[in-house]
Symmetry: C2
Subunit: 336 residues, 2 copies
DNA sequence: CTGAAAGCGCTAACAC
DNA sequence: GTGTTAGCGCTTTCAG
């Protein structure tokens, strides 16, 4: 491997000058610069990034912690992060926590060891207190969950409002017995959507029925299983708001198998607008999240912290959008 | 930041001893070791990985290059890679080439700069010649594409055999006009599946019909569009083998919209066994690839290269499996 | 505008 | 079994 001293020797300059040509070209006389550049070319010299990092304690790398990589939603956010990272010369290190708090924790050591310049968390499993502690010292962004009153920089949608909007849409279509399939309730995201659901009911004077709310795990299977439970009850719901599309589709599939007509016997609204939500029949009405943009905004927020720029809005809330398709019954054209 | 010399001073030993306690504990007297360990604990010392890397020129990091991260298939492979990497203390750096050869190329510089110990490519866009050159010098694995006669270590399924098997399954169900939707034909993977398709036809004396083969881009939309074309032709196919599930589902959806009954009027076989293939109705008959295991095997192969172990089989071919569901019509129980 | 020299934090001969 | 010492390849004062 060819190093800086090789270039320096061949160009009859010191390593300091070579370094300057690379980092700060205008502090070097044009003639010398050209000479050095030529030698760099000739020798096909590639600066050793590791050595530079050790010296400058900047890794030009950021770390993204995801709970599960095999989830299209995270992949989309990751796409946005990766795009901006590339533009700004940062590499993206991926870490899979698999939902383990300890694993998540251990990744943060990278930050302390200056191996990465910042971390984007696509999971809030570490909890507010711990995260806030880290946020004081290191660049960090929490994506997809918003923590009210916290100092942690976040990028997310307004889950409460979105949940409310989805539920109200069903209310406006005349439904009173609206079920809600939540995600894991230890997550703020699921808590928010549930809060929105309750708020919508309350606003419209519909009593809250404990039995119409079940906690799922965001999987297709849990949607399916929990829906089956409701379908066997004496007084099944006429509408369902699921906290994500996978569960919504699982529920729809279970209902269809029992001969239930969607949307006429059961109206369904999902969340996320995954690609498949517009492929499955009936096409799913759902709340779209701007995943790619969430990634981009997260990376922007992180870069600002890394560069010690001032951050006016540490909590970015992006817009979600209710996309009306067939499964809710609002779209007359598509009604069967 | 607290460093090794701080620990050494406080423990009344040299940095060399601290280093030994960390790297090679048994070369240190138990008493000293305990003392050092205690101080490490007290000071909450974290070794600086960067400095170690610079010294040992081992980054304990591998790079995975994917053409698009927003693809469940790659995410699954990545999951397998990540799992094994974690077990062996390696970090996973992610790189998105977006199908650009130059971008892919630039990532390989990391390898030359010793920033990563090895690279797993989930795309063959760089071509055999270039890859073979790199493979001579650096640890590298090409996943999901097999290059016959090359020295490049690869992990894949046998695409020719799988394509043949899928096609033969349709032939055995009595079909003669079998269409094939290929992936981008510059890829070996798509070429392989097409070759398998042709081989199956030939074996069973079915003439190859140019018009029954169309090149798609693996997207749902392309499956849909190309199927519409066939449906408008005077003599549409009675069966379809699509090179991936997205296109198969796109084709099915287009057919269903035209009132075609699947599998009775059109039998369909896909490829990959994505989760959605068993959710969409009719459930898709498809060739399952062991994606997670492909990731695991790729990482194993890479680790062997990194550790300079001998590799008996540089080209690992894993088994694929034809999963028979509803869309091909073989499953009488599910026939409508 | 350029060079000498110190040192980022760690590891690995080499001594003892 | 432990310490001394010399770097890994680069950046950055400090002098000139």
């Amino acid at each position: 491997m060819i190093k800086m001293s090789d270039v320096a020797r061949k160009a009859n300059v010191s390593t300091a000058t070579v370094s300057r040509v690379l980092r700060n070209p205008h502090s070097v006389k044009e003639e010398t610069r050209k000479k050095v550049l030529r030698v760099i070319e000739e020798l096909n010299y590639q600066p050793n990034a590791l050595a530079r990092q050790l010296r400058t304690s900047r890794a030009h790398t950021i770390l993204v912690v995801v709970p599960t990589i095999t989830n299209t939603v995270f992949a989309q956010v990751l796409g946005g992060i990766d795009q901006l990272a590339g533009e700004y010369g940062y590499r993206v290190l991926l870490a899979n926590s698999n939902g383990h708090k300890e694993k998540s924790m251990s990744y943060l050591d990278h930050l302390k060891q200056k191996q990465v310049d910042g971390v984007i968390l696509l999971t809030s499993e570490l909890g507010e207190a711990l995260l806030a502690d880290i946020a004081k010292e290191y660049p960090i962004v929490l994506t997809s969950e918003f923590i009210p009153g916290s100092i942690i920089p976040t990028v997310s949608i307004d889950n409460v409002r979105s949940g409310q909007q989805a539920t109200e849409h069903l209310i406006q279509l005349g439904h009173q017995r609206i079920a809600h399939l939540t995600g894991p309730l230890e997550g703020l995201l699921s808590q928010g959507r549930l809060a929105g659901y309750k708020e919508a009911l309350e606003r419209h004077g519909i009593p809250y029925d404990q039995g119409l709310v079940q906690e799922g795990d965001f999987s297709f299977e849990s949607g399916s299983e929990l829906m089956k439970g409701w379908l066997e009850s004496p007084d099944p719901p006429t509408a369902l708001f699921a906290a994500n599309d996978e569960m919504a589709i699982g529920a729809m599939k279970a209902a269809i198998e029992k001969g239930i007509d969607i949307p006429n016997n059961l109206a369904v609204v999902g969340f996320d607008n995954i690609q498949f939500s517009s492929i499955f029949e009936p096409m799913l009405t759902t709340v779209a999240q701007p995943f790619h943009d969430m990634g981009v905004q997260s990376m922007k927020l992180l870069l600002k912290q890394i560069n010690q720029e001032e951050i006016e809005h540490p909590q970015i809330v992006l817009d979600s959008e209710l996309i009306i398709r067939q499964s809710c019954g609002a779209n007359k054209v598509n009604e069967k």
